[in-house]
């Protein structure tokens, strides 16, 4: 089982995510530069947080033109697992792998704080280790995490049960309290909260472990199939 974490110029959670995959979940993990053009051989691809290319135009906008993106899109189209966290979520939206967009927080300020989330769909490769409606606490750290999609898109993704995590106490103005969601096929997840920051009790919590355990189970199950 292998995971790749894509490192864009300006990514700053790439090491953190790779650490969580490698040291916590025990998945063999490589950091792959965004200037590479292939992701062959990886079961899971992580798109990490940070400020790719400075995020100077819109978060994630410039990263979505990186050389690695065609390979990432191909990986996703072939059913490969993709998890985008924070800036990774923004990149996946900009690249069209996830619906909608992330706008400035309602407060217009960056927020770094623990947030309570409800796991509203446990039937995904990213959340099957959680209990339905379980409340978990994960840190958020973003300025642009206010999820927006037009009414049609929103209705569709709700009907399709694509929402995986919802804020209990919406910190940023996201529509329908959306903190994380998948694509229609269910193999690509984007979420603003940082599960990789909640995998060690020493650092204040382990509620993020479920995401990594879910992914690991999914890959093992796929391999057995």
């Amino acid at each position: 089982m292998k995971a790749a974490v894509i490192s864009f110029p300006g990514s700053n959670c790439d090491q953190d995510l790779a650490w969580a995959f490698q040291e916590i979940a025990g998945i063999d993990t490589d950091i792959v530069s965004a200037s590479e053009t292939t992701l062959a051989g990886y079961d899971i691809v992580g798109v990490p947080g940070g400020f790719s290319y400075g995020d100077y135009l819109r978060s994630g906008a410039i990263a979505s033109f990186s050389p690695i993106m065609p390979a990432l899109k191909a990986h996703a189209e072939n059913g490969g697992l993709v998890i985008g966290i924070c800036n990774g979520f923004q990149i996946l939206c900009e690249a069209g792998l996830l619906p909608g967009a992330l706008q400035w927080n309602k407060s217009l300020s960056f927020i770094c704080a623990p947030e309570e989330l409800a796991v509203v769909n446990t039937d995904t490769p990213f959340s099957n280790a959680y209990e339905p409606e379980q409340t978990i606490t994960l840190p958020i750290a973003h300025g642009e995490g206010n999820y927006y999609a037009d009414p049609d898109t929103l209705a569709k993704l709700e009907a399709n049960q694509q929402v995986v995590f919802r804020y209990r106490d919406n910190p940023n103005g996201s529509l329908n309290d959306i903190a994380g969601l998948t694509n229609a096929a269910g193999n690509v997840l984007g979420m603003m909260p940082h599960p990789e920051r909640a995998v060690e009790a020493l650092l204040g919590g382990t509620d993020g472990l479920g995401v990594f355990e879910s992914l690991k189970q999914e890959v093992l199950a796929n391999a057995a199939r």
Binding site: L57, R58, A61, I62, F65, C93, E94, P99, G100, A101, Q103, W104, N105, K106, S107, L108, N146, Y148, A149, D150, P151, G173
Partner: protein, 87 residues
């Protein structure tokens, strides 16, 4: 050589928190006569192209792909032919 003046704005249906903040600030400054605020991005590109049609197609693609997020933004642009570019 062409100069493209490009305007990118939120779609009217999208609530723009920055425009809202400006409205609030204007209220606080006692500008009660300001009826509406739109806050967008403005770009100027200078580009070489063989004719206006080619320039227009290119700028359109640049806007659609990069400068605007068409999920929530719209864009428009104007082209002017310019003779020379200042370095």
């Amino acid at each position: 050589m062409f100069k493209a003046s490009i305007y990118v704005n939120y779609k009217p249906s999208v609530l723009d928190p920055k425009a809202e903040a400006i409205k609030t600030a204007l209220k606080r400054m006692d500008y009660d006569n300001v009826e509406s605020v739109l806050f967008g991005k403005y770009f100027e590109l200078v580009l070489a192209a063989k004719d206006e049609q080619a320039a227009s197609a290119q700028v359109d693609h640049i806007c659609d792909a990069l400068l605007a997020n068409v999920n929530m933004e719209t864009y428009r642009f104007e082209l002017t032919e310019i003779s020379e570019v200042k370095a």
